[in-house]
Amino acid sequence: MKKIFILLFVIGFVYACGNNSGSKPAAVVSDAATSATDNGNPSHDPNRGIGKFTKIDVPPQLDAGMATSGNTIYDTKCASCHKLTDERLVGPGWKDVTKRRTPEWIMNFATNPDEMLSKDPQAMAQLEICLVRMPNQNLSDDDARHVFEFMRKNDGIK
């Protein structure tokens, strides 16, 4: 049992580091060490949601390149349901979403909607309002990060 725990710890460590090259390793290790679950991720944190993103470092300034790429992805995969204002279409409008949610929660929801919609209390509450399950649009990790940067741009970050 102990061995399994250690193994999970190591997997969690490697995994977390592999996905967060820009983040501070020390912080990630302490996160992962608190309580590893069977998928190697830290246990559920309502502010972070459920998924592979545990810690996203967001610099204060906008990465314009990432935001432009995020805009392109938005046009194809998101715009049918999300407006950039606060108007709800099929899903909620995106205005100020980066102020309401953590980057981890947004990126986990975007890449892991099925699990989030059945387990995460905030996502479940949102589903009760919208009644349409957010589709899994097969965003890569980078796609999710770029879309998040585009959301920041939409929220006025420069």
Binding site: D75, V90, N136
Partner: protein
């Protein structure tokens, strides 16, 4: 799992107790075997079973041992449910030299092989009526390619395959006049009618191409199998009607005591091809390929084929006498034995490849037929299975040296040992079995475990459904010495040959979505903001997107009577199992069923003015019933401008005013 372990014995005990009230017989034995076919809800089957649809023209996919139907793959027949043959993108798949042919008769399936083993890349099917072969991609479970065969009629001995997928073959069941003047009296069969066998090469990506055709005497080529292992490089075909009858074949083609098996040395034919000995002939045939990036098929008419005449170019073909109108012609897993079932014979002859080669070397011939040497029967014979049953048709093999032969007339499967020719077991089938299938049973590596019977007649086996009854399949457990019936289930169309392979060969590769980034359909729109309606003369192109749960645009005006409207719909979803459907009222057409990331086009020619709803036909979300739109059609010459919108509400109506 634990529940299942506890529940299953209870269920079986209950079942046995229940059946204890009934007279004992087949049913109580079947109940005892029920567990073997039981696949618990949510669990996967061990094998995929690809079953020819016969006169449905399609290929169906079942699970073994549960007999659950997963999918019907449209191949040679239109399928309005999937828009196959109705959407502009799929129409070219069914193009032929005769134009658009919406139906065919799919008899046999084969799978791509590497080193004589199934590799899970492609399944092939034959079209018997308008001679064609098709390749089905086992990643997408869709028809990827269809190739028409010139100089052919009744493509029956097809699409059997060589052990490294070098070729699939296609032989004429109906000999016909070939080349030059084909407008000849039917009674001139013996002078003018020819059989052909096409060797169709299979490229690295599966591309089909007719490498060469063998021009052969006018007989009926029925079934075939490639050699394997030591006999790799050879192909064996059964043929009947060596009487060369052109009428009342039922009687006139059953006169001779023996017909033939044709052995073809295709490596020798390759040598002649390399030496440019083939004769180029001008013909006309269609080659249709579906492109997964453009989501469209293209049909190209080809005009040349290379023909080899084995009566002139020697050492390619040899006939071997075979009793009474042989049907099945099957090679055992070792490649040494060839089993040919004379369907009117009282024995099953088993030929030895080694002896056949020696007979050829020794020139142990009894004469010629149509300029091709006929090997002496005994010189090629390993032995005969005596009194096996009535009407032997087809043979499959297990990995333990046993053969399983179907008997149409006596309605049974007979198990026998290939080497000793001794009959080991027999079981009845219900009724009149045609083909049968052991997973991998036609390859060098049979997986054994089950033999599935495909029955022509079910009569009293199921609830009656009027004059037309279902055909059926029956699964027998063959892991022990005795075959045991464990399940039967109805099938679509009329199943002929079927193949089965372990699920692991396919399921890990199964495609989930088409990537929207890779969609290069010229009419694709990858963003709602690019959705538009464009008029080009009397053609109106609607570039529309779909996502849960709306179309964009969903209000269109300015279409006029006399216009042809093309709805090009791109499904923006990128999630597994979320197709959207599309239908428009009054269209002389079918629906579209658009997979995630795909673009498909429906043509609609409005026949009257008014407002026409369009809607999504495939339940997609809680707001699926809201997934609809309107198209307004005005008279020809009307000045209603072409407009389109999404989310633009009309003014409030005042119902009190008129």
């Amino acid at each position: 799992m634990k529940y299942y372990q506890i529940l299953m014995p209870l269920l079986i005990t209950a079942a046995i107790q229940f059946s204890g009230c009934k007279p004992k017989g087949v049913s109580s034995a079947a109940v005892g075997n029920a567990e073997k076919a039981y696949v618990a809800p949510g669990k996967y089957d061990e094998f995929y079973n690809f079953v020819s649809g016969g006169f449905s023209g399609q290929m169906s996919v079942y699970g073994l041992p549960s007999g659950r139907l997963f999918r019907v793959i449209p191949v040679f027949s239109v399928d309005p449910e999937k828009g196959y043959g109705y959407s502009e993108e799929t129409k070219p798949m069914l193009n032929t030299s005769h134009g658009f042919v919406p139906w065919d008769d799919l008899h046999h399936v084969s799978f791509s092989q590497t080193n004589g083993e199934i590799d899970g890349r492609w399944a092939f099917g034959n079209g018997n009526n308008t001679p064609r072969v098709a390749r089905v991609d086992l990643k997408s479970f869709r028809t990827a390619e269809i190739l028409e065969l010139p100089n052919s009629a009744g493509n029956h001995s097809s699409p059997f395959i060589t052990e490294n997928s070098e070729y699939i073959v296609a032989g004429t069941r109906f000999s016909v006049p070939v080349g030059g003047n084909t407008d000849v009296p039917i009674s001139s069969y013996k002078q003018n009618f020819k059989g052909t066998i096409s060797f169709i090469s299979v490229g690295k990506e599966g591309q089909l191409d007719i490498a060469f055709q063998l021009l052969l005497p006018g007989v009926n080529f029925d079934l075939s199998r490639a050699g394997k292992g030591p006999s790799h490089g050879w192909f064996f075909f059964s043929c009947y009607n060596s009487e060369q009858a052109n009428t009342l074949l039922e009687v006139n083609a059953s006169q001779r005591d023996k017909d033939f098996v044709l052995a073809v040395n295709w490596k020798k034919a390759e040598e002649y091809m390399k030496a440019s000995k083939g004769i180029k002939q001008t013909v006309k045939y269609a080659h249709n390929v579906y492109d997964e990036k453009t989501h469209s098929a293209k049909s190209v008419i080809k005009t040349e084929v290379t023909v080899i005449d084995p009566a002139i170019l020697k050492d390619i073909c040899y006939f071997i006498p075979c009793p009474k109108s042989p049907h099945g012609c099957d090679t055992d897993p070792t490649g040494e034995y060839i089993v040919a079932s004379g369907k009117l014979a009282a024995v099953i002859p088993v030929y030895s490849f080694t002896k056949m080669q020696k007979a050829i070397a020794d020139k142990a011939f009894e004469g010629e037929f149509g300029g091709i040497p006929v090997i002496k029967y005994e010189a090629a014979l390993h032995g005969e299975v005596k009194k096996p049953g009535l009407g032997p048709l087809h043979t499959e093999f297990d990995a333990k040296g046993n053969a399983y032969t179907s008997f149409f007339v006596s309605s049974e499967i007979v198990k026998w040992n290939v080497k000793s020719l001794e009959v080991l077991d027999r079981v009845p089938t219900y009724y009149s079995i045609g083909h049968l299938c052991v997973p991998g049973g036609d390859t060098r590596k049979p997986f054994g475990k089950y033999v599935v019977a495909y029955n022509k007649i079910t009569k009293d086996r199921y609830l009656p459904t009027g004059p037309e009854l279902t055909q059926s399949a029956q699964i027998f457990d063959i892991s022990g010495d005795k075959m045991q019936l464990i399940l039967d289930f109805p099938t679509i169309g009329e199943p002929h040959y079927a193949g089965a392979m372990p699920a692991d060969l396919i399921k890990k590769n199964s495609l989930k979505i088409y990537k929207i980034e890779e969609n290069s359909n010229p009419y694709a729109v990858k963003s709602e903001k690019d959705a538009k309606v464009v008029r080009e003369g009397n053609k109106v192109h609607v570039y529309m997107t779909s996502i849960r749960s709306h179309f964009a645009p969903d209000n269109i005006e300015g279409v006029k009577l006399g216009d042809e409207v093309y709805f090009h719909i791109t499904n923006l979803e990128q999630d597994w199992d979320v197709p959207h459907g599309f239908a428009v009222k009054g269209a002389n057409n079918a629906e579209l069923l658009i997979m995630p990331g795909e673009t498909q086009t429906l043509k609609w020619v409005p026949d009257r003015t008014g407002v026409f709803p369009v809607y999504c036909t495939d339940f997609c979300s809680a707001l699926h019933q809201e997934m609809q739109g309107y198209v307004r059609v005005s008279p020809a010459g009307s000045n209603v401008p072409l407009t389109f919108s999404l989310g633009k509400q009309g003014a409030a109506a005042d119902s009190t005013k008129k």
